[in-house]
Symmetry: C2
């Protein structure tokens, strides 16, 4: 008994059948004696369809008007879901972002939640209503509608859970939880019962796109217990919390990220400030750099290699050429790479994790091109062709098949 925040993504409400299924989950929770606040995204491909409509009119719609347009998507899904809940015999009320008290920054398209003034939500809960809130949207201080960017509904849900001190924030998706590897590719990938916020952040960044990163950061900041689970069955999912039971697992998961490009610059002058100038130039172009590797070359020069996302690769190369006097032959960009990582807080206290990972790659004849480590993560850059084999090999090394 307590307050539950339940978030449903676009695919969970894409048609009438799915909406009724979601309404059943919600009313079951309510009938068990809980208060329920629901956060919902736009149906299915609605957001993409609306962007398409805007593009028909202009290639560069103003961000304010685009947010006005996109926010209509959740308006449709919240009202339909409230009707479905009422049809199942429970009282419901839908609220738009501004009605639910979502005050955001003014950055249209990528607004940040500044406060959730949850008075209205509280009043509706006091009237025993199930409250259905539009995710992804809010208003700025000009009373204009803003959106939080892709995956923003997760953040909306965690923000409400934080503001209302909910028992738990349940994020319903089309997967059953967080797995040790992509279950579509690794047959014996295991669902985790629990995982820490930091581990979840590493996994999300590394391509296991289950939870939006900002929502995990907010969950960590306000200590909101988040559960990732499927709307298509009724089995427990994975709980994200501060201290997770280790379940005797050294690592939480193995992930692959193919949105990586490796840029190498050779023959840079070996003088102080070169690296600073290089990476501050990239930062000023809002290009995020991931793994960095620097080595001293011959004759007082140095080589710098780093990775960026594929979408930023060309811009990175261009701005380096502009800023530094590098010859074309001295700069290379390789998009034929992938980053494979193992994540887990357990590795801190278990030496040998890296060795075990590298051994698995060696046994499968996979060449490591770069290595990066953090307290809870080890990443290697390899050829993209070997990525799936690498994940399978590493997963098998850490999670030997129990049936074998």
């Amino acid at each position: 008994m307590g307050l539950y925040v339940q978030k449903f993504g676009g695919s969970s409400v894409r048609d009438t059948e799915r909406i009724m299924n979601v309404a059943k989950i919600i009313t079951d929770t309510y009938r068990q004696g809980n208060d329920v606040v629901v956060v919902v995204s736009a149906q299915g491909d609605t957001t993409d369809d609306l962007i398409e409509k805007a593009k028909e009119i202009t290639e560069n719609p103003s961000k304010r008007e685009l947010d006005m347009l996109l926010a209509s998507g959740e308006q449709i899904s919240i009202s339909l879901l409230a009707m479905a809940i009422e049809k199942l015999g429970c009282p419901a009320v839908s609220l738009l972002g501004w009605q639910a008290g979502f005050n955001t920054s003014s950055a249209y398209g990528t607004a940040r939640i500044k406060a959730v003034k949850a008075d209205r939500i509280r009043a509706e809960i006091d009237r025993h209503n199930i409250v259905v809130v539009a995710g992804f949207q809010g208003i700025n201080r000009y009373d204009d509608i803003t959106t939080l960017g892709r995956g923003g509904s997760d953040t909306s849900a965690v923000a409400i859970a934080a503001a209302m001190h909910a028992e738990r924030c349940q994020i319903y998706t089309d997967v059953e939880g967080v797995y040790t590897a992509d279950p579509r590719k690794i047959a014996n990938a295991r669902k985790l019962k629990e995982i820490t916020y930091d581990e979840m952040l590493e996994l999300a960044t590394l391509g296991a796109q289950v939870l939006n990163n900002r929502s995990v950061e907010m969950g960590k900041k306000y200590n909101v217990e988040i559960e990732v689970l499927s709307s298509l069955n009724r089995v427990p999912g994975t709980i994200v919390k501060e201290v997770a039971k280790m379940e005797k697992m050294l690592i939480r998961g193995v992930t692959k990220d193919t949105d990586v490009a490796r840029i190498s610059i050779t023959n840079m002058p070996h003088t102080p400030g070169v690296a600073f100038k290089l990476f501050s130039t990239l930062a000023s172009h809002k290009i995020n750099v991931d793994i960095i590797l620097q080595s001293v070359g011959r004759s007082n020069t140095k080589d710098i290699t780093f990775t960026v996302s594929k979408g930023n690769a060309q811009e990175a190369v261009d701005c380096i050429k502009e800023t530094f006097d590098v010859a074309d032959s001295d700069i290379t960009c390789d998009t034929n790479v992938a980053k494979v990582s193992v994540v887990g807080a357990g590795m801190e206290s278990h030496p040998g994790t890296a060795a075990k990972m590298f051994e698995a790659l060696f046994e499968h004849d996979i060449n490591i091109e770069m290595i990066s480590t953090s307290e809870i993560k080890i990443s290697v850059l390899i050829e993209v062709e070997s990525a799936d084999r690498a994940v399978a090999a590493i997963h098998k090394a850490f999670f030997p098949d129990e049936l074998a």
Copy 2:
């Protein structure tokens, strides 16, 4: 030079091409040095499609949630139209009903505008923005979204024009103005240059569905000059104002209304209060009665005949049977009728209008079953099969073909 309010209906913005056409009309008005506030409806069949979605979930959606759902339609059209205006190089900002200050009663689905607090609109005008406002919607005192009912966008436009003391409120539709008869049926139907509010109200009620009645009433109350014109060409339309030039016309138009049912009750006791009880019973069922005819029958009974809209006919018959002890043979309901009317303030000072109308019907052998008159209108009830012939005959009598 002044402030123009321009309203565009759903068919005027149904696709990208139409939206760009509308944006051109708006920016042309703006570039002539005028301030422009635009009111727009949901695109094409959006409202019907949304109702269809709701019906898939439940036959009886709550009115609050239905309003929440429907209001998304204008949100899409205002943002797209604002983008189109910006694409044509003029500054624009879209506003939802609540942002534009539309405060309404709480009656979801049929809300009345209580006030337009136009501060935000004024501020945007001061910033030289073209303001694109969502028609049809507002918020009630609980901050919940309401809609004004079908045709409500006309009322939204006139309400803004009244609040802002606009030069003129232009209602763009797919017809070029108000005609002396339905131009699709009467070849030489003439477009009126001007018409009074009262004449327009009679014409609207009688089936010439050009302007929403409430908007005309509001225009009359606040003396807003309304122009009805087409968004598909650039010719002057018909202006609705308090004192219209008579253009030497006796009448303004001839209309046909087939949404009529005639109910006759015979052998009612000829005692005081019978008619009162009958029509107050119907009023308590919210059934509007139009033409009423009462005659004293034989042996101290009376016969009462009246018309209602077809949709109310069965309910009217049922509630009469419940309230009065009438035999089945004493009550008849005839839906095979039509009401044909002539409207025009000119007939007040011109005796013989009725005679001219009846003569035209007589010459075409059309039998009149009931007659009703007001200061600016004469209506007759006839067989539905003769309705189109009757309109043509009457129109010809009052507007003889100049080329003939």
